[in-house]
């Protein structure tokens, strides 16, 4: 159904930041009525391409053409005016304005006295939602909307601006399965109305479900553009990383040792209730469930950053007092949190400071830090994890997502944990890094570390875990052995109904 002429052409664009060439001579075409996937490892240059289309960065060389005419997208307003809309992973709505006001921002319908015609504004928003087939109240404030609903509001905003090219930058990273389906239904209807979609994701099952064509990038260069009917997932992965990967989920069999983490009757009203489980040394236990089922809250409560009402946590026989991450760390617990930008890292501080922050006391001599030991330690651990960076004194915020995650892992592995809790350890990172993280977790378990992993990615849960604990609405509802755990059994426990996937 693709039109003969491309709607948007990217022609040999290049962009450098200082000495680093982020994108080199990349060309591809987007057709109206077609969904086009852009894939590549972190740092491959996808974000830079998105930012060029969004008018955030201007290409150093090359051009972007819409309908055969060259465009100078110097600002986001230019891109908007040209009909290009970008939906980011974390939408940026005005939280205290209503949904309708957010959609109409900058183009509010005016009444007789040049005042805003609120009724018309709400009506237009309602029409857009009706067209998208979603039910969001246009009058409610944007604050409190789920990320999925915020993205739908962004899409409605794009529609109201008559966007013909819609770029979605990892929109599904924080969505549940049902939300992804709803987003895809909307995306398909946009496509069928003749818009050109560009879809960026690390999840191949989503790409094959939604897209017709895929462009693969590596190291800032264009590798290939293929019809998805002509390429297998294995081929895509090979092209992305430029080499063959080992198994994606290489959990080795390890004989489980003594109980390292013992949780009994953990409750915090109304988030989770009566959660009890053990994790043994050498074991990887996955905590599965839908987003919002209370998994992250449980692990944060174990670590002590969140409070708890009742229940006990024991680490290698030592009882932890509630609300003290410091004591949990001293007992040998490490938590790699869910949200790396807000919780895992101090984005404006250096790589070095980030890696050594939890250990600054033990690295000090007579209470003083001269910086040498911190530098040595940061260097050692970032190298162990093969982190790519310019200088250790660079802000950690300048790294790509995968390398940021490695810094978080380095930071916690340096504490030599007995119990490692990882919350969504591979969210938003590329396949290459993902495999490295999985191998790392497996080898840690082999060395006798007890690993508790929260994950929303079923393949990761099934591939990595010796045991799967499933949470639903704040309660632990199932414990499945490696042999019992399948997509169906986990989803059944997580949703409380027969899986429809």
């Amino acid at each position: 159904m693709a039109d003969a002429l491309p709607l948007l052409r990217v022609r040999e664009v290049s962009k450098s930041f200082g000495a680093v060439a982020a994108v080199r001579d990349v060309s591809f075409d987007l057709y109206g009525g077609e969904a086009h996937a852009l894939v590549g490892e972190n740092g491959a240059g996808k974000s830079t391409i998105v930012k060029m289309l969004a008018g955030v960065h201007r290409p150093d060389t090359g051009s972007i053409e819409l309908d055969g005419t060259g465009q100078d997208l110097g600002t986001p307003a230019d891109a908007k005016a040209a009909g290009i809309a970008v939906i980011y992973q974390e939408p940026t709505l005005f939280p205290d304005l209503s949904v309708a006001e957010n959609i109409a921002m900058g183009r509010q319908p005016l009444g007789r006295f040049k005042t805003i015609d609120r009724a018309a504004m709400v009506r237009q928003a309602a029409q857009l939602f009706a067209r998208l087939g979603v039910s969001i109240d246009p009058n409610r404030p944007a604050r409190g909307l789920s990320i999925a609903d915020q993205q739908l509001v962004e899409i409605a905003k794009a529609l109201s601006a008559d966007a013909r090219v819609v770029v979605m930058d990892e929109p599904t990273a924080a969505l549940t399965g049902v939300e992804v389906e709803r987003l895809f239904a909307v995306a398909r209807s946009l496509r069928d109305d003749g818009a050109a979609l560009m879809f960026i994701s690390h999840r191949f099952e989503e790409i094959t479900a939604l897209c017709e064509r895929v462009t693969i990038m590596r190291d800032g260069r264009h590798v290939s553009t293929d019809l998805l009917t002509d390429i297998t997932v294995d081929e895509m992965v090979r092209k992305m990383v430029g080499r063959d990967l080992g198994a994606l989920f290489p959990k080795q069999d390890v004989a489980a040792g003594a109980v390292a983490l013992k949780v009994r009757g953990l409750s915090r009203d109304p988030v989770f209730k009566d959660v009890s489980f053990d994790v043994r040394a050498g074991e990887i236990v996955a905590l599965a469930g839908l987003v919002g089922s209370g998994r992250s809250e449980v692990v944060q409560s174990i670590f002590g950053v969140d409070p708890r009402d009742t229940g006990t946590v024991e680490v290698v026989g030592k009882t932890l007092k509630p609300g003290s991450p410091k004591q949990a760390m001293a007992a040998g617990v490490a938590l790699v949190p869910e949200d790396r930008r807000q919780q895992g890292l101090l984005m404006e501080l250096s790589i070095e400071r980030n890696v050594t922050l939890p250990r600054s006391r033990s690295l000090s001599q007579l209470g003083f830090l001269t910086g040498n030991r911190e530098r040595r330690e940061a260097k050692e651990w970032t190298q162990k994890l093969k982190t790519k960076y310019g200088r250790l004194s660079d802000n950690v915020g300048t790294l790509s997502g995968g390398n940021q995650q490695k810094v978080v892992l380095a930071k916690w592995l340096a504490t030599n944990p007995k119990v490692l809790i990882v919350d969504e350890p591979t969210r938003g990172i590329d396949v290459g890094t993902k495999a490295e993280v999985h191998r790392l977790m497996s080898s840690l378990a082999a060395d006798g570390v007890a690993v508790l992993m929260v994950s929303s990615e079923l393949p990761e849960v099934l591939g990595m875990a010796d045991r799967v604990l499933v949470m639903r609405e704040g309660r632990l509802v199932a414990e499945l052995d490696r042999s019992e755990a399948t997509e169906e059994s986990v989803m059944f426990a997580a949703t409380g109904q027969e899986a429809t996937l």
Binding site: F17, V305, P325, L335, F368
Partner: protein, 321 residues
Amino acid sequence: MSATESAVVSRFANWNAAIIAITVIVLIVAAASVDSFGTSQNFGFLVLDLLPIALVALPMTLVIVTGEIDLSVASTLGLSSAVMGYLWNANQPIETIIPLCLLLGAVLGAVNGFFVTVLGLPSLAVTIGTLALYRGLAFVVLGDSAVADFPTVYTDWVTGSIGGTPIPNVLIIIVVLAIVFGVILHATPIGRAVFAVGASEQAARFAGVRPGRVKFWLYVASGLISGLAGVLWTLRYSSARADNGAGLELAVVAAVLLGGVSIFGGKGALPGVIAGVVLLGSLQNALRLSDVSNEALNVVTGVLLIASVLGPNLVNRLRRT
């Protein structure tokens, strides 16, 4: 994004060096163009004038790096001075009064810390409140009167200099405390925690830092040093008054920001702050020597405060084009 972020980093690094260079230039120009600026006698006055700003700026730097602020410092200084006068009038020995005034400062700081960390109120509002409250209490304690006649052993030490040298005694206090606070901020786990809290309180918590505890003790330190500044102020002029140090918080915040500390927290360095204090103090001193009125000196503070924000921005914009 990465390009702008590293520009921000180098901007702060450069501003720190720039402010030190600007300070040196101002000192040289002042010495050359203002007749009595470079004399050893004036050096003593300059240090004494700088004393309260320099002392209070030290804990203020740490407070601002955590992303908070303490505007009650000048009122704490005033209340410390008023209580000192009241107790001296009540014939208490000076050896008891001075520790009591320091303790009072620490308690006043702890009150700020309690409101900010335990109750979680915004420090800007809390310390504007205690700015008025503590100054009001100072007037309750001492009214409009002034208490004088403090023991000359103490007043002479504060205004005197080391042996036969032109180096004022109080410079020892400044240097020692500057080293203490500089080391705490830049070479201890506490300092690492201070920067972490300022960069992201949540991420700091996830790394085992207790932001509330860090901030609470910084407010206590701020109160303690302000109490000390009140004692030294009183001894310098041998006059305890409720309005001592009024408006000083403005100069302190100006000096800290001028020194390159980010008002949003997470960034800053103590050497720059020292340069900011010296720049502010010596400019005021030089202008005073040139017969500029005290009231007009506020213009200088205001202009410098704006320059402290504008300067790094302009430098950044020039570098980009």
